[in-house]
Symmetry: C2
Subunit: 400 residues, 2 copies
Amino acid sequence: MSADASKIDPKDFRDIDPGDRLLMGPGPSDVPARVLQAMAAPCIGHLDPYFLETMNETQQLLRHLFQTQNALTIPVSATGSAGMEACFVNLVEPGDEVVVAVNGVFGTRMGDIVNRIGGKLVKVDGEWGRAVDAEAVARTVKGCKPKVVAVVHAETSTGACTPLEDISKIAHEAGALFLVDCVTSLAGIDVPIDRMKIDAAYSGTQKCISCPPGLSPVTFSAAAVKALDQRKHPVVSWYLDFSMIRDYWGNERKYHHTAPVNMIYAIREALRIIAEEGLEARFARHWLNHRALVAGVEAMGLSMLVPEKERLPMLNAIRIPDGVNDLKVRKALLNDFAIEIGGGLGQFAGKVWRVGLMGHSCRRKNVFLFLSALEAVLKAEGLKAKPGAIDAATAVYASA
Amino acid sequence: MSADASKIDPKDFRDIDPGDRLLMGPGPSDVPARVLQAMAAPCIGHLDPYFLETMNETQQLLRHLFQTQNALTIPVSATGSAGMEACFVNLVEPGDEVVVAVNGVFGTRMGDIVNRIGGKLVKVDGEWGRAVDAEAVARTVKGCKPKVVAVVHAETSTGACTPLEDISKIAHEAGALFLVDCVTSLAGIDVPIDRMKIDAAYSGTQKCISCPPGLSPVTFSAAAVKALDQRKHPVVSWYLDFSMIRDYWGNERKYHHTAPVNMIYAIREALRIIAEEGLEARFARHWLNHRALVAGVEAMGLSMLVPEKERLPMLNAIRIPDGVNDLKVRKALLNDFAIEIGGGLGQFAGKVWRVGLMGHSCRRKNVFLFLSALEAVLKAEGLKAKPGAIDAATAVYASA
């Protein structure tokens, strides 16, 4: 950079050309060409009749994906973390008790947000890499009067899946709202909002929806909307205040902020692809490719972080074998094979790789490429993996 | 919608096809094909080396546009209103006095945000459709101890432009930070952050930058960063907390939230186009087309809302002649000519049209098309506009 940071030569900036990465990390996942093309349609006004109709369709498609009748089902105009913030700022008022189960980075983040907005945080400390223990939640809920009980369905930091049914019952028996982070689970495994009596849920576009990052699908039940209506204090965030935003997404069409028009085109197309595939088929695809990946990884002699019954299919945390250099392996996969995988977070930094099988990235050919590339890279690093990874994966597909 | 809102038939959802609107409203503006193409490049990881370099380049290009050396110069991962919220939540703590000049919708919104986050709002009430009176700001600042003095440079709701130099001096003499909304002005008229000693500024992508909505460029001076460092309370918004976000955009590259990758591609390309044109040429283009538009409008016998010396070039508020139906005219422009213009907001609803000449939309051919279409539509509405609009506009271009 020159001494004057504001002086530039435009010729120093080349055409964008990110190459052809295969995204098998914790997100974003690969985006189908149809979604990129839809996103590149001409931008139009955020109150244009065509765009208002596009918003309606996007809401219908989101309700299908969330398996909900909830009227307030919208994509928040920012990434998944803003969806988390939106759920808490709209439902929690200063002094409200909030039970948050923490078994990874994203539960920790929930607690951080509750503290910032003046909620009274009551944590359930869970083990990282394991599902949240419903009985521990039950004990904690008995000791307080929570307005909200919050849990991360799919901990992206570890690959652990927490069953929702029991915790939903515990929350409702305590008269609390049940809030769920389904950033990584939605569109990859079953997230039946109405059947599970989830009152508030948020997700991200860049995981199993396979749309670029930039929006956060959120849905609120009638009980959550009632809590919003009965607030005593204004929502601390103007940008995320659903009491106004619902009048833009609802029939009033009242201007709040300018919607991210082309991102809405993109998620609509991604949701359309999901509807065409069908939810059941999509979930089955995620489980099948996951089983093949695990079979291959274990055949190689590597082991998974999360116990079998608590694993997510779309986020696979593999223990890094002793003596293997985390960064060197990931760099080799990126530079020699154009495959992105993720490293560990928090207490698992340097201890695990996080391999995503999300949405469009979740395909047999990618499982095969990853297994064969990892085998070669580990060999170059001096680790002689056991043979048979591809055979093991093939056997899974054959038996499906 | 069927009785079960979550049941849909994917065949009911067609390919996205918004048509070829000409965007001459208050934003979004027309997006150049190069920007749409860049946005449709393959999505890659938000920590991918190529993307990190793309982030660096985007910051360099933003510093050029803001005419600043400020290290903390980034696109916030949400639309312009989130940039407004980001500036206030990072700089204002509970109990801090904040002087906000209000001469339209967006000054009003600033005040709303200050109240929500516990700041002590001290309003300078200005006239809608006029520039803010610097002397009124001076009087108000003398009566309190403000931490921040905030003003909207370009009131998108009225088209009034407030000069910044005097208010900047008033703010600094009072020991306050100077905060400026340049959502609509940036990239259309001169917004020299360092020369005007602006401590915090935010903008939007969908006005004169001519990128789809979805990001909010923000810049913080060293003094603003110092205020952030010396905070006694955590920033109430986790998503907008610059004390963490700067570690992702800075050399640490510490993960905060997933950046909206493809939107970053888009703004980088839009900023590259701006750098290629050059700031001076771009500002001159906005002024020239504005003068031609006004000449044509006035030749028709219509009048502008804002006095000549206080007008913005990129947002032209035209008084609706008596007896003319606002909605019918706007619908005819949209349906018969595919031209979007904006209606009035707040006290000017039904009283003015807001005609944008922003970024890529700000071209001679669009001025001609708008003038001739408006003349025809008004005639169909029974208003016989005076002849000579095109001649008047032509004369402006000829004398340039």
